[in-house]
């Protein structure tokens, strides 16, 4: 009876769609009811309204678009009457979700992505699995998304004000963004981060790539031991490395100041860049080693056979082929340095203050939404950076005919 059949796509209205709609309504109604202080009433009203809606949509409104827009409009008006503009927005969202759910159930859409021979249990598991995946994405993304609207807060607190919830323009402001781009407390760390991270990345990419290539040669003695040592900055707890680096680089800095006569400020940058490069090297080594596994050694021998020296072979043959690994290693190194707060707190002095450092002290001393504005800018920046690199990588693969599609 539960074996799917292409000729009977529509499930039973009273035995399937309506009970499930009622359950969905129960959940939503409970949430809305609790928010308004009457969970029980919300529970019952939600179930009744959802079941009734399912019946009406499934029986009388075959056109999906009309049904969904109509539901959203009715829900919006109800929300507007209950809680103003924010209620209307919530109403539209709930209306769209509930009506989509009603059609998804009543038209048999929920089976559309599984083979016709799947049992009821298979279908249930398939959709539960999708739900779990969705919840995991929500779990990963929600904390990041929450800060975005808060960064437009007109007040100086991490709080959704009543004006914000009512979508009153008065409750929103760009002042935290203005503060970020105009206040020297923030522009200086921004500048420092953009000085330190690229330099550290260049150093770790050059050294890390060389190390990975060397370590991939089978004749190097003690390869595993060397590899373990080079990877260790990633494994040793950061606070331990930071303490060690503090004392090591203090001595190094004193030596440079005393014997080379460099300025304290310049030495400070050198110390932080070197420390961050050390942290970035393991990422480069790991990604480049992984790409080298797929690298065909006979190509270098062929190049040598054609009369190219090792340096020329490296740049003309090997480098282009392992470039994706080098780039993603470089990205990791860049982000490591750009996000790093522990080591720079130890090794740097106030004139090398980076963005994460400023955000850290900002959170501790003054809970200011400027931090959220910075976070929003950085999230946007990271997304753009990763998208660009991914697009470039696909393009180069397509050009070289490596992509399977």
């Amino acid at each position: 009876m539960s074996i799917g059949h292409p000729e009977i796509p529509k499930p039973s209205l009273t035995g399937f769609t309506l009970p499930l709609m009622a359950v969905a309504g129960l959940c939503l109604g409970y949430v809305v009811g609790t928010a308004n202080g009457q969970p029980l009433l919300g529970l019952i009203a939600g179930a009744a309204v959802a079941a009734a809606l399912g019946y009406v949509l499934a029986s009388f409104v075959p056109d999906r678009r009309v049904g969904r827009l109509g539901t959203a409009a009715v829900a919006a008006i109800a929300g507007l009457l209950m809680a103003g503009v924010s209620g209307a927005v919530v109403g539209v969202i709930i209306g769209l979700i509930v009506s989509w759910f009603a059609y998804w159930l009543s038209t048999g859409d929920y089976r559309s992505t599984v083979p016709v021979y799947a049992t009821a249990g298979d279908v249930l598991w398939h959709n539960t699995f999708k739900l779990i995946c969705g919840l995991i994405f929500f779990f990963l993304i929600a904390p990041i998304v929450v800060v975005l609207p808060l960064s437009f807060n007109a007040q100086d607190f991490f709080t959704f004000t009543p004006e914000m919830l009512a979508f009153d323009p008065e409750g929103y402001s760009l002042k935290h963004y203005r503060d970020f781009f105009n206040n020297p407390d923030w522009t200086r760390p921004l500048k420092n981060s953009f000085i330190i991270a690229p330099l550290a990345t260049i150093i770790s990419v050059s050294l890390g790539t060389l190390a990975a290539i060397g370590l991939s040669q089978s004749h190097v003695p003690g390869r595993r031991a060397i590899m373990a040592i080079l990877i260790s900055p990633m494994i040793v707890p950061l606070i331990i490395s930071a303490t060690g680096m503090f004392f090591f680089y203090s001595k190094l800095g004193n030596w440079m100041e005393g014997n080379l006569g460099l300025s304290q400020d310049f030495i400070g940058y050198v110390k932080v860049v070197l420390a961050h490069a050390v942290l970035g090297i393991p990422f480069v080594i790991i990604t480049v080693t992984a790409t080298l596994v797929g690298f065909d050694r006979s190509l270098t021998r062929a190049a040598a056979n054609m009369g190219a020296g090792p340096v020329r072979t490296f740049f003309k043959v090997q480098m282009p082929l392992i470039l994706p690994g080098v780039i993603s290693g470089g990205l990791f190194a860049f982000i490591t340095s750009f996000d790093e707060v522990v080591v720079v707190l130890f090794v740097g002095s106030a004139s090398q203050k980076t963005l994460p450092w400023q955000m850290f002290t900002g959170l501790r001393e003054q809970i200011s939404p400027t931090i959220l504005a910075v976070a929003t800018v950085l999230v946007t920046f990271s997304i753009i950076l990763l998208t660009t690199v991914e697009l470039l990588r696909r393009r180069s693969e397509r050009l070289r005919g490596m992509s399977p599609t």
Partner: protein, 364 residues
């Protein structure tokens, strides 16, 4: 010939410019509104008068003791002037990490000629400490969450029936233990005698225990204003300047409970081991920054009382809002009817012991 002369002249010019070149000083402070008040009241005016001096701020005062120790061990001093709590200055001075100074030589006399040591008086709590301000740790409450009779007595904090809801208290025994004993019927003058005994400490913790499950513990001065703004707590302790900023500058529905506020001091210390040239600039800055007018100016930006007696009459209006600052000072007679003074000797002796008991009680 001419070319050589020009070259010589240019290089001489470059060298003299190099000699008088800009000096970067790193000052350590607390960040936030307090650091801003220091910047506006004296760092900016000083930099305008001395364009060759550039001041960089490091918001590390909270870890000043630990960081100065580490810098001293590594022989890598990167700080030139450090703003610390008076209590921390005792530790730094005892360990020789802060420099001792002569108040009458380093600091400016008052306008009427009163010597600096007399003008600051008892606020110079030890040989290294250069006083700036008096602040207090006190309570703020949500005016819309406390009903018709707002709290007016410190013991209202412990009264869950009259004022139900969460409170925020600092995650350390200092101040909390004193308030608890006071509200458990111990007379104000006996508090430190009682607190010196194990029974007294248990009594204070037991009193705190009556509200323990309604307490949110804070560790940064900005926490309580945030919790009050969210309405997550009905009342909470923090530094009075933070509450002033939330009330007057952010227009939050918050009221002040000044009863049994605890006075403490904040000031500069000079780290030991500064090179001569930097020390000279730091001393010059301190002479300027702690004079009568500059300390009075600081009160335009934050509601902390100036440490000099001669500055008090000069306290004016808020720099942006134009409101009189005097009624918002912890030292204002109306606010200072019932005041505790942070007892340095007591806490220096008992801090480690009571800290351990307090943390164990928190975890238990």
């Amino acid at each position: 010939m001419k070319l050589t002369k020009t070259l010589l002249a240019t290089s001489a010019l470059v060298m003299s410019a190099g000699a008088a070149s800009a000096i970067d000083l790193t000052f350590v402070s607390w960040g936030g509104a307090y650091q801003k008040s220091q910047l506006e009241a004296y760092a900016k005016p000083y930099m305008e008068a001395h364009p060759d001096v550039n001041i960089i701020w490091d918001e590390s005062s909270a870890e000043a003791v630990a960081k100065l120790r580490a810098m001293n061990e590594a022989g890598n001093l990167t700080w030139d002037l450090v703003d610390v709590d008076a209590a921390d200055s005792f530790r730094l001075c005892d360990e020789g990490l802060a420099m001792e100074y002569d108040p009458d030589e380093l600091l400016a006399p008052a306008d009427d000629g009163t010597s600096a040591s007399e003008d600051f008086g008892a606020q110079i709590v030890n040989a290294c400490y250069i006083p700036q301000i008096v602040y207090s740790t006190t309570f703020g409450y949500r005016t819309d969450l406390v009903g018709d009779t707002p709290p007016s007595n410190i013991c209202d904090v412990f009264d869950l029936e009259a004022y139900p809801g969460k409170r925020s208290l600092e995650k350390r025994p200092i101040n909390n233990m004193e308030w608890a004993l006071l509200c458990d019927g111990v007379a104000k003058e006996d508090i430190y005698d009682v607190l010196a005994t194990d029974e007294g400490q248990q009594q204070a913790l037991a009193k705190l225990g009556t509200i323990k499950d309604q307490v949110i513990w804070w560790s940064a001065g900005a926490d309580t204003p945030q919790l009050l703004a969210d309405g997550e707590v009905v009342m909470g302790s923090t530094y009075n300047g933070r509450l002033f900023s939330a009330i007057a500058e952010q227009n939050q529905p918050i009221g002040m409970l000044w009863d049994a506020q605890v006075f403490s001091f904040d000031g500069w210390v000079i780290p030991t081991g500064l090179p001569e040239d930097r020390l000279a600039v730091v001393k010059d800055f301190l002479f300027f920054a702690t004079d009568t007018q500059r300390l009075a100016d600081q009160a335009k930006y934050i509601s902390y009382g100036p440490a000099r007696a001669s500055s008090a009459p000069l306290v004016g209006q808020h720099a942006d809002l134009g409101i009189d600052m005097a009624p918002h000072m912890p030292t204002d007679p109306a606010n200072a009817q019932n005041v505790f003074y942070y007892n340095f000797e007591f806490w220096a002796d008992y801090r480690d012991d009571i800290d351990a008991k307090f943390q164990a009680w928190l975890a238990g």
